[in-house]
Amino acid sequence: MQSDTSIAIHTRGLGTTLRQDKWWIYPALILFGLTSFLVYGFWSAWQADYYWYDAGVSGFGGYLAPFYSPLLFIKEGVAGAAPMSHSIFGAWPEWWPQWLPPSPSLLILAVPGIFRFTCYYYRKAYYRAFTGTPPACAVGALQRKRKDGYRGETGLMVVQNIHRITMYFAVTYIIVFFYDAYLSFFRGGEFGVGLGSILILGNPIFLAGYTFGCHSIRHLVGGSRDCYSCSMVGNASHESWKLVSWLNRRHELFAWISLIWIVVADLYIRLVSMGVIIDPNTWS
């Protein structure tokens, strides 16, 4: 029989808990998953090369790595760069700082990056895994030493409220990614299918599953209404809300599938463009 132990019921401190289960597994997996994504993402964006593959065939079609889409500017003469015709604004700008690599990815990563950073699901994930507020339910949170203590999302993190604004822009990326998928089914104007096409097509599909399950979209399509049967558009609003709610219940699932898929697709196209692996396809 165990002896009686003295205990202060209101003890505080990171990790303080009477839980006996393996509560640390979830934050550890998140820490590993998100850190791996960030390391790969920044590494890939920093490379500034091997983001395009068309097997040297000119004309409509080719694979564009998702981390580099859309191509706002293109630096010519870079290994594995897309043809200039794919650039929205033309040649690489001269004002670009020398110390930064001329990577189209660095110009466009901010919007999807901030969209995910401020996402209600990812907030749970990284607040638990990175900031320990709290690491798990009923496990002691990291104590704040400043005078006013914990401020949640009322202090610096009030910035989380820009999620809605980034959502407006993030939706446009899905359209761009679907165009990239369409592009990937052609090479030199000829229709075909490659493993790269499938990977590039999966990207906007899973991304749409994630984005259209967003809490902000759920609010805008119907969540903001108090009565669906009181107006002409109420029924349509309620049906849309139910559809978004279905996706919203799977928001975490789509968040991770889309995150892993984009890394796999990006890495695959980089390796194909570098000639490290050969893309199985119907063209060759």
Partner: protein, 257 residues
């Protein structure tokens, strides 16, 4: 028949001890049964609050092996044979004695929330044509049994002692149930943001995880409220729309003929 060791908190708000008890477990027992057995056979002055033993009154909230749970709904066969069970009172509230916490702070929060306000044209004795889809969301919140497990697990109250700044998840969903009510025209968003501290919630979803009524507090209550706050104070598109077209007039359900 199986023998188990229970370690139960005995003490007050400042200090106490985890006292060990050997108990015999029969098939079908829940943790509250074991506590009652200890009270009947070994420790007559062990304080525990309980009432319905059916998971509907929300009285027997406590922490079992560190997790906020209803003792009457926690079956003994959830635990491994031979596993020691540690039972402590709710950590976020002052302990009165042993397993009984003083949850009266919650009652005061409830009083701060503005009640339903009907539009003058909505006042009638005939009732309204109410469709299920219009009340689905608020009916989910009405399942709340006020066990305050969500309040207990919320780290803002539990670890950061922000009782003066944050009203807690249970009352966030009470505000949500009023804000989403088809007949209510009261505006609670300014105090939701400032006095009730909606911004303190960082969406770590523990309130949803511990709810014995499986209410999705986070996705269906707290986040929709935070989105309404974004509508009002942060989204330039909705702010501009309101500036140009004015606030959206609430359309009410039809009155019964």
């Amino acid at each position: 028949m199986d023998k188990r060791t229970f370690r139960v908190y005995r003490g007050d708000n400042e200090r106490g001890e985890l006292k060990s008890y050997e108990v015999e477990i029969n098939e079908g027992m829940v943790v509250l049964d074991v506590i009652h057995q200890i009270q009947a056979e070994q420790e007559n002055d062990l304080a525990v609050r309980w009432n319905c033993k059916a998971g509907k009154c929300g009285s027997c909230s406590m922490e079992i092996n560190g997790k906020p749970k209803l003792a009457c709904m926690t079956r003994m066969n959830e635990y491994e044979p031979g596993q020691t069970i540690v039972v402590t009172p709710l950590k976020a509230f002052p302990v009165l004695k042993d397993l009984v916490s003083d949850v009266s702070w919650n009652y005061r929060q409830n009083e701060r929330i503005k009640p339903v306000k009907l539009a003058p044209e909505a006042k009638t004795d005939r009732g309204y044509v109410m469709y299920q889809k219009d009340v689905d969301r608020i009916q989910e919140f009405r399942k709340c049994i006020e066990c305050y497990l969500c309040q207990d697990v919320c780290h803002i109250l539990r670890d950061h002692d922000k009782q003066d700044a944050f009203i807690g998840p249970r009352f966030m969903i009470r505000v949500a149930s009023l804000e989403m009510h088809p007949l209510d025209i009261e505006d609670r968003l300014p105090e939701l943001k400032e006095e009730f501290g909606s911004g303190y919630c960082n969406i770590t979803r523990c309130c949803t995880d511990v709810c014995p009524e499986h209410i999705n507090l986070t996705d269906n209550g707290i986040i929709p409220l935070k989105e309404r706050v974004v509508d009002r104070f942060y989204d330039p598109v909705t702010i501009l729309r309101r500036k140009i077209f004015g606030p959206r007039k609430k359309k009410l359900p039809p009155i019964n003929k």
